[in-house]
């Protein structure tokens, strides 16, 4: 190992907790979000990639995907399949109202040292066949030093409406970063302004960083990302430049972790929004 590489590794270890997740974006793309009645199904593509909404990297695993019916009770995901670059599944929208489809993932990331050798928790990138199982908090030995842990929680949700929209599925649980939209996500119109509120542990989240990116990246030159933030009341106002699908990602890091020895809590909320022509 050259002195430069050794210095780089030492510098990396100084960063509070290593950010192990890749920078790729996770997303679910429904076939549409507005349905006339209860005679339809929605089909959803789920993938991890950089360009929205193109499949070129990894599929999103369907294990954790849940469906909520308009009354809040759990619904059914059908015909799930996972391919090389995307997963796909169907949901039969047999009740009127707004349905929620999503995942919630909680993990603990970080590192610790045993006899001066640094070990990382969790796994970087997709599962590799034959690789050893990733380390978890339970694997940290009693003699470990420099234990640096961060809690991560990610919610990825989409909303589809059959008939008239309802709001039961937006009821917050009061834990972590949540979406409490003022403008219904299935009523977005190009040229109009939508208002969305975000909550952290049930309270409005001021100064939350939100990134909004339109789909169709391949058919234009710039990324088109907009970086916005919520006001003091946790509310974000967005005006949609054109109709289409948009990816929205809100992130917040604070120190209110509940896992023992975790010093940081990193939360993110992702949704895909459909904007229609006026």
């Amino acid at each position: 190992m050259t002195p430069l590489v050794a210095r780089l590794i030492a510098a990396a270890a100084l960063v509070s907790v290593p950010a192990a997740l890749s920078a790729h974006r996770r997303w679910m793309l429904p076939s549409r979000t507005v349905f006339s009645d209860t005679s339809s199904w929605v089909t959803v593509d789920a993938a991890v990639s950089n360009d929205l909404f193109f499949f070129d990297h990894q599929p999103l695993r369907l294990d954790g995907v849940k469906v909520w019916q308009p009354d809040g009770s759990e619904g059914v995901l059908q015909n799930g399949a996972t391919g090389r670059y995307r997963s796909v599944f169907d949901v039969r929208l047999d009740k009127p109202g707004t349905w929620k489809i999503g995942t919630q993932m909680n993990a603990v990331m970080g590192s610790f040292k045993v006899d001066g050798v640094e070990k990382r928790l969790g796994r970087r990138g997709p599962p590799q066949p034959g690789a050893p199982a990733p380390l978890t908090v339970a694997d940290i030995p009693a003699n470990a030093t420099d234990v640096k842990l961060a809690e991560t929680s990610t919610r990825n949700e989409i909303f589809v409406t059959a008939g008239a929209p309802t709001t039961t599925v937006f009821r917050p649980t009061g834990k972590g970063l949540e979406f409490a939209p003022v403008t219904h996500p299935d009523e977005l119109v190009a040229g109009e302004t939508a208002t969305f509120r975000f909550l952290v542990d049930g309270k409005p989240a001021p100064g939350l960083k939100v990134t909004i990116i339109p789909g169709g990246k391949r058919y234009r030159n710039d990324e088109g990302a907009r970086e916005l933030s919520t006001g003091a009341d946790g509310v974000l106002s967005v005006t949609w430049p054109a109709a289409g699908m948009y990816w929205l990602n809100a992130t917040l890091t604070d120190a209110k972790a509940t896992t023992p020895r975790a010093t940081e809590r990193r939360m993110s909320y992702v949704t895909t929004l459909e904007v229609l022509t006026p």
Binding site: F35, S36, S39, S40, A164, P278
Partner: protein
Amino acid sequence: MRLSAFVLIGGAVAAPAAAGTVTITIPRLSVAEYHRPYVAVWLDPVGGGAPRTLALWYDVKKVGNEPGTKWLSELRAWWRKGGRGLAMPADGISGATRAPGRYSIPLPATLKPGNYVLNVEAARETGGRELVSIPLVVPVRAAAQGAGKTELGAIALSPR
């Protein structure tokens, strides 16, 4: 028997002096695959308040797995503005799709006087979608005109 019953109901609604008449033109289009458009006609009160649907033409005959109502949300502006609250079929309002031609719809006599926007939206299978909006004052004293470019032709408003 059924037909005459409908005519009777239609007659009862139209009997008092109408507040005006809307005439809608569905253009004749020469395309390889032509389907009669879904059309919604509704009034938006300018100061706010519930929109009122005057007419809705859709495929009433299709039922079962993919009923004609499945495509009502393609009339996107009408759907969002209040169309989705209407139960189909809606008496005196909904009916079958119509062939190219001119059709008159009387404005209901029970309309409160005031400023409105008359909206006519058409969506055609394997075709486009168009929305034409014309300001309207009730009671209608002067004739007014509007026109679509693709899916709708001339829209005329007249006092009687």
